[in-house]
């Protein structure tokens, strides 16, 4: 039973019980069948025994009848008289007469005087004489046993009676032919099939009379030949398609003639067949009733279980509204109740999980996933209704730094605040806002085209102009915004959001607060991506080259150092400036390779300069990624050793923001470098948001004032003031100050007057290939010689 798998309890129950009842019925029917068979055989045997008695009785009667007929004839005076007078004609008529009286088939007179034979019937004289003489020899008047004689190939049952006058003067033989009529007579009396089978002269057996005919008779003969041995009495024989119980009786002492009495066993079982059929029908009826009852009960058990499994499937689909109704108190009732409580528990838990999946707990807004779903739904609706909508994403400036400096808790509070601000300025009924990244929010404005959308975005940005109060801390925030509209800027959720983010990236890069998406942004971005992928190849295949821009000591007008700048000579696109690939190098991590390459190139250049008698140091820009690399100092140390240079040969320039990515690690790296004696300058000073207190802690030697202040300082007073105060600040902190972006003598003179230590810019020299440096230096020295002319 274990090997069988049932698809339902119902069928299992039905199977088990029906099997049981069928087995029980078989246990009854099989013995019944056996006993019916036994009974049928016994009944056939009884019939055959009775039949044998009837048959022998018939033969006895025949004998008696023959004897009587023959005796009457033998005793007839007239007959004897005609014998004594040799009146043959009378003799034969008397024979005929008595023969027909008893329906005998033959009557023979045999005279002992003169051996005369007179025959009535189809027998030859020779046969008759032979038979009569044989019988006379064995004659015993008291013996009434069956006497069989063969005449013309047919057996006859005969009797022989002496004719006495009063001594024996002759014999009368009378006989019945053993033929079909005898068989039929016996069949009528006993209801058995009767066949006489005789051994023919060739020794084979053939039937001479039978109630069978045709193929059945042939079948019987062949069956008989197979089974017959003289000792056999009872046997089953196959005749045609039926089995017959058979009794074989030998009729002659030489076993040359037998009679086979037969009764069909199947006919004998036929009477029991009705009983069997009614029992079988009863069984079928019982099975039917039993099946109905079993089906009913199994339904009572299995139906609720099926119901429960259907409900469980509904649970699987997320439908928790179905309640299992039951008033049962049995195990199924308990199971149903357990289902109900399970349903409730799962529903509650799923609500929680769903909320977490779609909700940003920090900003208390829907998350990016929820936004995408909303977006795709809105696209579907808008497509149908031919409506427009706009999404924008905005990214807080400096959030990472805020988080780092003010702490995560503060950052989270800020995000929550921003979330409230955004959510408060949209239409709650139709619009949708979400936090889609660490410091990135998205807003979906339903039914608004680009223009209306922009108006709303601008409104939100206005809110940011006021400082935000968190705890007791006020903070100024600003943000970049990317805008994309449906359907112009994308027809799928992914595309729309991606395009909005592309626009956002462009806004950040270009430092423009709101940028609307347009396909050219994509092109830029894609080109950048392509360059990024080619950059790695470029580093390995010397497509990069080092350019040098001189740094001049303003007071002595001597070139004392150069800044190393990288240029990429692209085989197809020509010269590519660092602005175009350094950001991607930073994102992809290639920047570290580039930095190290530059340091090594710088070392090579210094070595060459040294041989030429030039004693210049080279400043190399390094990135935030380099700063968090603890091995950087070691690598630089190894390079300096390799080229046998002092630590003063190389200086490093870092931006404020690169420090702020991970201030503690940056600080550790910078300390190690400073300990090695390497000078460090803060690049682009004034554009970032560095805390002076923090800067003060760092081992920095120089400040580089950003060129944006220097370039306009001649015309812009505030720039001038910034430059002046920055120079003063640097000096107060014991730092040397470098000004970038000196493009004319005016700026030079102003810086000189402000006490700026060093200068750098097109006025003195553009970034140039290394080979051009010596000629430039020569020409610069010439210019310094005639400086007074210039200054004038």
């Amino acid at each position: 039973m274990n090997s069988m798998k049932f698809k339902s309890i119902k069928s299992q129950i039905i199977f088990v019980f029906l099997t049981l009842i069928i087995l029980i019925q078989l246990a009854g029917l099989i013995p019944l069948g056996i006993s019916i068979n036994k009974n049928a055989h016994a009944s056939v045997q009884r019939d055959l025994q009775v039949g044998e008695k009837v048959f022998l009785n018939i033969l006895d009667n025949n004998t008696a009848s023959l004897q009587q007929g023959a005796k009457i004839l033998a005793a007839d005076y007239g007959f004897r008289d005609s014998i004594s007078t040799n009146d043959d004609e009378t003799i034969i008529s008397a024979l005929n007469n008595h023969q027909s009286r008893i329906n005998a088939d033959i009557a023979i007179f045999y005279s002992t005087q003169g051996e005369k034979t007179i025959i009535s019937g189809n027998v030859s004289v020779v046969d008759a004489n032979t038979a009569v003489k044989k019988i006379i020899n064995n004659y015993n008047s008291n013996n009434k046993a069956l006497d069989l004689e063969i005449f013309n190939g047919y057996p006859y049952q005969v009797v022989l009676v002496p004719i006495k006058a009063p001594l024996t003067i002759g014999w009368v033989l009378m006989g019945f032919k053993i033929d079909n009529s005898l068989a039929i007579k016996l069949n009528k009396l006993s209801n058995l099939d009767v066949t006489f089978i005789q051994k023919n002269s060739a020794g084979g057996w053939s039937a001479i009379a039978s109630t069978f005919s045709g193929s059945r008779l042939i079948g019987l003969e062949s069956s008989f030949r197979k089974i017959y041995v003289p000792s056999i009495q009872n046997s089953d024989m196959q005749v045609g398609d039926k089995t017959y119980g058979s009794r074989i009786i030998s009729l002659s002492s030489g076993n040359s003639l037998v009679v086979v009495l037969q009764r069909s066993i199947s006919e004998a079982t036929a009477q029991f067949e009705t009983l069997r059929i009614s029992l079988f029908l009863l069984t079928i009826f019982g099975l039917f009733i039993f099946t109905l009852v079993t089906v009913y009960f199994s339904k009572v058990i299995s139906l609720p279980i099926s119901k429960l499994s259907e409900i469980a499937k509904e649970f699987e689909q997320g439908n928790y509204e179905l309640v299992v109704k039951t008033d049962r108190e049995d195990e199924i009732g308990k199971l149903s109740n357990a289902f109900n409580s399970m349903r409730e528990a799962i529903a509650i838990r799923e609500q929680k999980v769903t909320r977490l999946a779609y909700w940003d707990e920090i900003a208390d807004l829907p998350n990016r996933y929820a936004f995408m779903i909303k977006l795709s739904k809105l696209i579907e609706i808008s497509e149908e209704k031919n409506e427009k909508f706009t999404i924008f994403v905005f990214n807080l400036d400096r959030f990472k730094q805020i988080n780092n400096i003010m702490g995560r808790e503060f950052g989270d509070a800020l995000l929550k605040n921003i979330g409230e601000l955004i959510n408060g300025s949209i239409r709650k009924s139709s619009d949708f806002s979400a936090r889609v990244g660490a410091d990135e929010f998205a807003v979906l404005l339903k039914g608004h085209g680009q223009k209306e959308g922009l108006a709303i975005v601008e409104g939100i940005l206005k809110l940011f102009e006021k400082p935000i109060l968190i705890g007791e801390q006020r903070i100024d925030i600003s943000a970049g915004v990317g805008v994309a509209s449906y359907p112009e800027h994308g027809k799928t959720d992914e595309q729309l959001l991606q395009n909005a983010e592309t626009a956002l990236a462009s806004s950040k890069k270009r430092k423009i607060s709101i940028v609307e998406y347009n396909p050219s942004l994509d092109a830029n971005q894609q080109e950048n991506l392509m360059l990024a992928s080619e950059l790695k190849f470029a580093i390995e295949n010397s497509q990069l080259s080092l350019f040098l821009q001189p740094k001049i000591n303003i007071s002595t007008k001597q070139a004392y150092s150069t800044e190393a700048l990288v240029r990429w000579t692209h085989p197809e696109k020509g010269l590519i400036f660092p602005d175009q690939f350094i950001p991607f190098a930073e994102q992809s991590g290639l920047i570290q390779k580039i930095s190290l390459w530059m340091i090594e190139e710088a070392c090579k250049v210094i070595s060459v300069f040294k041989e030429q008698g030039l004693n210049l140091s080279i400043a190399v820009n390094i990135s935030a990624k380099d700063l968090i690399d603890h091995d950087l100092p070691k690598k630089i140390f190894e390079l300096l050793n390799e080229y046998q240079l002092s630590s003063e040969s190389i200086s490093l320039e870092i931006t404020e923001s690169s420090i702020m990515d991970d201030p503690s690690r940056a600080e550790a790296t910078l300390n190690s470098l400073a300990e090695m004696g390497i000078k460090i300058a803060i690049d682009d000073f004034g554009t970032g948001y560095s805390s002076l207190a923090y800067l003060k802690r760092l081992p920095v030697h120089k400040l580089k004032i950003d060129k944006s202040f220097v370039m306009n300082m001649e015309n812009d007073e505030s720039d001038r003031k910034i430059v002046k105060s920055t120079i003063d600040l640097g000096h107060n902190l014991n730092l040397e100050v470098v000004a970038e972006g000196i493009e004319n003598i005016g700026s030079w003179l102003l810086l000189e007057s402000m006490g700026c230590d060093y200068g750098q810019g097109y006025f003195m020299g553009k970034p140039m290939p290394v080979k051009d440096f010596s000629p430039w230096l020569k020409s610069w020295n010439d210019r310094v010689d005639s400086w007074d002319d210039i200054a004038a």
Binding site: A75, Y77, R80, D81, I83, S84, K164, A165, P166, L167, I169
Partner: protein, 208 residues
């Protein structure tokens, strides 16, 4: 069978002579081959000379009593007549199909009006048409010298003139039916003979 008989005849025939010369008597003891005495055996002597004695006119009776013929065997000389008195209350139908004398006395009671004359030598078997068991023999001989054995199988035939005779012995149960055993004798004095017959036991009628 002839040889068989000759063999025996030498042993069996014992002659005994007595004093009378003119007429002798012959005593014959008839037994079966086992020596058992046979009654109702007919013994007669036929002379080789022509019968000068003439036909007999002896009258004999064969009565029917208790549905039996009595006597069983009757010996008569040719020309004798026999009466068949019926002593039973039932009627009888006496017949003979024997060639020596065919006759029938249809159902009758008492004594038939005329006796039956047996004028031909031979065996006449008598039966009763309505009582199959009734059987009698009339043995008709052509000689005056005859007799039948008594219960001890002995017959003495007297007053036989000297001469050559053939002694014949017949019995109804002879194996060789109707073939008497013969013996030539030269009769000069009384003789005593033992004759053994081959008898069909089954044909013997018991108690007779």
């Amino acid at each position: 069978m002839g040889n068989y008989f000759n063999l025996y005849s030498k042993i069996i025939f014992v002659f005994s002579l007595s004093g009378n010369v003119l007429a002798s008597e012959v005593t014959t003891i008839v037994t079966d081959v086992n020596g058992k005495a046979l009654s109702e055996a007919v013994v007669y002597l036929e002379s080789s000379k022509p019968n000068i004695i003439g036909s007999g006119s002896v009258k004999a009776d064969i009565e029917q009593k208790s549905k039996q013929f009595n006597p069983l065997v009757t010996v008569v000389q040719t020309g004798s007549s026999v009466n068949f008195p019926n002593k039973d209350s039932v009627r009888h139908h006496v017949y003979s199909f024997s060639p020596a004398k065919k006759f029938e006395l249809k159902l009758y009671s008492g004594v038939p009006a005329s006796p039956v004359v047996f004028d031909k030598a031979g065996t006449v078997v008598l039966g009763c048409n309505i009582h199959d068991a009734m059987l009698a023999f009339v043995y008709v001989v052509d000689t005056p010298y005859f007799g039948k054995t008594d219960k001890s199988g002995v017959i003495k035939i007297s007053n036989i003139p000297e001469g050559n005779y053939v002694l014949k012995v017949w019995h109804y149960a002879l194996v060789k039916e109707n073939t008497p055993v013969e013996k030539s004798i030269d009769l000069k004095s009384d003789q005593k003979l033992n004759v053994k017959l081959e008898i069909n036991e089954a044909s013997l009628i018991s108690g007779r």
